[in-house]
C-alpha cells in the first residue's frame, strides 16, 4: 500500500479522497490552488500545499506543478479525482516516470481508451452493441455522406470530449453544413483536439451506466448500474440506482455483458461504461469513463463498497479481494447534484459567500460537500457545491426520504437548484420512473422552476 497520496483535485471529491485515505491509514496531502486555500479539504488535511494560482491551467491542470508537489511532499502516489488530469494518459505516463503511482488505469490503458471512437470499435469487438455511427469525420462532405447513411437526426461529437460538452444535434443536411465547422473549432478550443465523429441520435432514450472494477490480475466485478436520465443539456442532475427502467433479468444481462467485455479488452481499475437505452429497452454502448465518477456515492450506498478505497487498492497492485458473488446491491439510492446556479435565470452559475449551511440528516442520508458557513464559492471552477445522496429499502421510500432531506438542506447566501430538485421529485414522470434524457430540455425547465418556487 502507498504511504502518502497527493490529492490533485478540489471541492467535494478532494474531501472524499481524503476521507478514504484516513480510513485506510494512508497519509494524504491536499494540493490546492490559491482560490481554494479556504476549501474544506485544504483546511481538514494534515498537510496541504499550494500548487498555483486560481486558473486551473496553471494549477490543477498543470502537470509539472502537481507532480512537483507530490515529489517535494514525499508522496508515492497521486489521486487525480475526476475532471482535470484524471483521464490524461500523458499525465499518467509522466507520473510513473517520476517514480510515482497514478491512481487510475495505467497510461497504456488510458491511451487505448482515450478515443471514444476507437473504444467503441474495441468494445464492439468484445460483444457490446454500439450506436450506429461514423468513424472519424474527414471533412464536411464525409460528414454529409455518413449522416445520410446513418439517418438523421445525428449527434456530432468531439472525440476528445466528455460530459456532453461540445456535442451538437443536427436534424438536416443544411444544419450539418452550417454547424460542422463550428463543432471543429469548438472541439479544438475545448479539448485541444478537433477530431469529430457522428452518432445516430436516439430521441427518447435513457442514460444508463455500469460500474466496473478490474484488478491487475484480470479479476473483474460490476457493481450494478446507475440511471442518469435526469439531465439538462447533457449534464446529469439526478442519478439513481437501480434503474427503474430495467427488469432484474435485463439488469443482469447488461451488467454482466459490460464487465465481460471490458475485462476482455484489458481494462484496469475503476471504470464506468455508459449506455443509451432506447424505448425498446435495447442498450447501446456510448463511452467509458476511466475514473471515479461524481455519482459514485449511490453505488456505495447500495453495495457497501468504498469505491475510492477500492480504486486505491487496485492502483497499489492489490487484488480485488472479492468476486461477483460478494457484491450484493440492496435497496435504492438517489443522488442530487447541488449546484450553485440559478434555475430562474437561465441556470447562470453563481459565486459568492455561503452565509449559512445546514446539512440534512436521518436514515440513509449522506451529504458530500466542501462548503461551510463563511466559505466563499470561487468563480473559477464548476458549480458543484455538493451531492445529497439518499438510500432506502425501496424507491418510493427513497423518494420520500429525499424530499424530506432536500427540505432540510439549507444553503444560504447563494442561489442553488435545491427547489428544482424538489419539483422534479414531485413530477409524475419521475415518480413513474419514466424520465428520458431529453425531458428537461423538451418540456423546458420552466414548469419545474415554477413548481419549485411555489
Amino acid at each position: 500500500m502507498f504511504s502518502k497520496i497527493l490529492i490533485a483535485n478540489r471541492g467535494e471529491i478532494a474531501l472524499r479522497i481524503l476521507r478514504a485515505c484516513r480510513t485506510m491509514g494512508v497519509g494524504a496531502v491536499v494540493a490546492y490552488s490559491e482560490a481554494d486555500r479556504d476549501s474544506l479539504a485544504a483546511q481538514l488535511a494534515d498537510e496541504a500545499i499550494c500548487i498555483g494560482p486560481a486558473d486551473a491551467r496553471r494549477s490543477y491542470l498543470y502537470a509539472p506543478a502537481v507532480i512537483s508537489a507530490a515529489v517535494v511532499t514525499g508522496c508515492d502516489a497521486i489521486h487525480p479525482g475526476y475532471g482535470f488530469l484524471s483521464e490524461d494518459a500523458g499525465f499518467a505516463d509522466v507520473v510513473r516516470a517520476h517514480g510515482l503511482a497514478f491512481i487510475g488505469p495505467s497510461a497504456e490503458v488510458l491511451e487505448r481508451f482515450a478515443s471514444k471512437e476507437a473504444t467503441r470499435r474495441v468494445l464492439e469487438a468484445h460483444g457490446l452493441r454500439t450506436i450506429p455511427g461514423s468513424g472519424m469525420l474527414r471533412d464536411e462532405a464525409h460528414a454529409l455522406e455518413e449522416a445520410e447513411r446513418i439517418g438523421y437526426p445525428v449527434l456530432i461529437k468531439p472525440s476528445a470530449g466528455g460530459g456532453g460538452k461540445g456535442m451538437r444535434l443536427v436534424k438536416t443536411p443544411q444544419e450539418l453544413e452550417s454547424t460542422f465547422k463550428i463543432c471543429r473549432s469548438e472541439a479544438k478550443a475545448g479539448f485541444g483536439d478537433d477530431s469529430l465523429y457522428m452518432e445516430k441520435y436516439l430521441d427518447e432514450s435513457r442514460h444508463l451506466e455500469v460500474q466496473v472494477a478490474v484488478d491487475r490480475f484480470g479479476n473483474a466485478i460490476h457493481m450494478g448500474e446507475r440511471d442518469c436520465s435526469v439531465q439538462r443539456r447533457h449534464q446529469k442532475i439526478i442519478e439513481e440506482t437501480p434503474s427503474p427502467a430495467l427488469t432484474e433479468a435485463a439488469r443482469q444481462e447488461l451488467c454482466s455483458r459490460a464487465v465481460r467485455a471490458i475485462a476482455d479488452a484489458g481494462y484496469e481499475n475503476l471504470g464506468t461504461l455508459e449506455f443509451l437505452v432506447d424505448a425498446k429497452g435495447d442498450a447501446y454502448f456510448i463511452e467509458i469513463n476511466c475514473r471515479i465518477q461524481v455519482e459514485h456515492p449511490i453505488t456505495e450506498m447500495c453495495t457497501g463498497i468504498d469505491m475510492v478505497a477500492l480504486q486505491i487498492k487496485i492502483a497499489a497492485g492489490e487484488r480485488l479481494g472479492m468476486t461477483q458473488a460478494d457484491v450484493v446491491s440492496r435497496g435504492h439510492a438517489i443522488e442530487f447534484r447541488i449546484l450553485a446556479e440559478d434555475p430562474g435565470n437561465d441556470f447562470r452559475p453563481q459565486d459568492g459567500q455561503i452565509l449559512g449551511y445546514l446539512a440534512p440528516g436521518g436514515p440513509g442520508v449522506r451529504m458530500d460537500t466542501h462548503i461551510y458557513p463563511g466559505y466563499d464559492v470561487p468563480s473559477y471552477y464548476d458549480s458543484l457545491l455538493g451531492k445529497l445522496s439518499v438510500w432506502a429499502p425501496d424507491r418510493a421510500t427513497a423518494i420520500a426520504r429525499a424530499d424530506a432531506a432536500l427540505r432540510e438542506l439549507l444553503v444560504d447566501g447563494i442561489t442553488t437548484n435545491i427547489d428544482l430538485h424538489r419539483a422534479i421529485l414531485a413530477n409524475e414522470v419521475f415518480i413513474d420512473g419514466k424520465v428520458t434524457t431529453n425531458l428537461l430540455d423538451r418540456v423546458g425547465s420552466a414548469p419545474f422552476v415554477a413548481a419549485g418556487n411555489r
Partner: protein, 204 residues
C-alpha cells in the same frame, strides 16, 4: 557663503535623487499593496507623502482576487508606480494623527519575494543580507522537476531576512526573502504630527 551654499545644494540634490531612486519606488509599492489611500514618511528635513488619486484604490475592484494575502506583496499588474501619484500636500493634524497608526502598520508589513512555483528553493549564490536589488532582479530559483523558475525581487530595495533555507521544499506563493527599504531610509520615522513639512522632492 557660496561654497557652503554649493555644498548644501549638492547634498540636497543627492538626497532628492536618493529619495527618488530608493525610497519612492518602495513607498509606491507599499501604497499599492496596502488598502491605504495615503502614506507619509520623513527623514531629516525631508518628508514624502504619497496619495492615491480618488478612485484609484482598485482593491475593491479586485476584491475577488487571490484569497492569499501573500501574493499581494509583489506589485500586482496595473498597480505599478503609475498607479499612485505623488505630490506635496499640507494636511490637518487630526488626519495626520489618524493616519499615523495606519502608516506605522504599513511600515511594519514586510515586502517579500514569493515563490513562483511548487518545488525546491535555491537562493542565488552571492545573495547576502544588505544587498541592493532592483525590482525584477533574480534572487534565486525554485526547481520544478529539474526546470528552474526565477524568484524575483518584487520591488527595488535591500535584501533582508531569508524565510526559507536553501534546499527546502516550497509551495506556490510561499514567502521566501524579505525585501527591506533601502539603507538610506533606515531610521525613517513615520510622520510626526508636530511637524508640518513642506515639501517632497523640493526645497524645504
Amino acid at each position: 557663503m557660496p561654497q557652503d551654499r554649493q555644498a548644501r545644494t549638492e547634498r540636497d540634490h543627492k538626497a532628492i535623487s536618493d529619495l527618488a531612486d530608493d525610497l519612492l519606488p518602495a513607498l509606491i509599492a507599499r501604497l499599492a499593496a496596502s488598502g491605504l489611500g495615503e502614506i507619509e514618511v520623513r527623514e531629516g528635513e525631508w518628508k514624502a507623502r504619497l496619495r492615491k488619486p480618488a478612485g484609484a484604490d482598485d482593491r475593491k475592484v479586485a476584491g475577488r482576487g487571490p484569497v492569499d494575502g501573500r501574493s499581494a506583496h509583489g506589485i500586482p499588474p496595473g498597480r505599478g508606480p503609475a498607479a499612485g501619484t505623488a505630490y506635496v500636500a499640507v494636511e490637518d493634524r487630526e488626519r495626520l494623527a489618524r493616519e499615523q497608526q495606519q502608516a506605522r502598520d504599513l511600515a511594519d508589513a514586510p515586502i517579500v519575494a514569493t515563490s513562483p512555483a511548487v518545488g525546491v528553493f535555491a537562493p542565488r549564490k552571492d545573495l547576502a543580507i544588505g544587498m541592493r536589488v532592483r525590482a525584477g532582479d533574480r534572487l534565486g530559483t525554485v526547481d520544478v522537476l529539474g526546470v528552474r523558475e526565477d524568484v524575483v525581487a518584487p520591488v527595488d530595495g535591500v535584501v533582508g531576512l531569508s524565510l526559507t533555507e536553501a534546499g527546502e521544499a516550497v509551495e506556490y506563493g510561499q514567502e521566501l526573502i524579505r525585501i527591506e527599504l533601502p539603507e538610506n531610509s533606515r531610521g525613517l520615522e513615520v510622520n510626526g504630527a508636530d511637524r508640518e513639512a513642506a515639501a517632497v522632492l523640493g526645497e524645504a
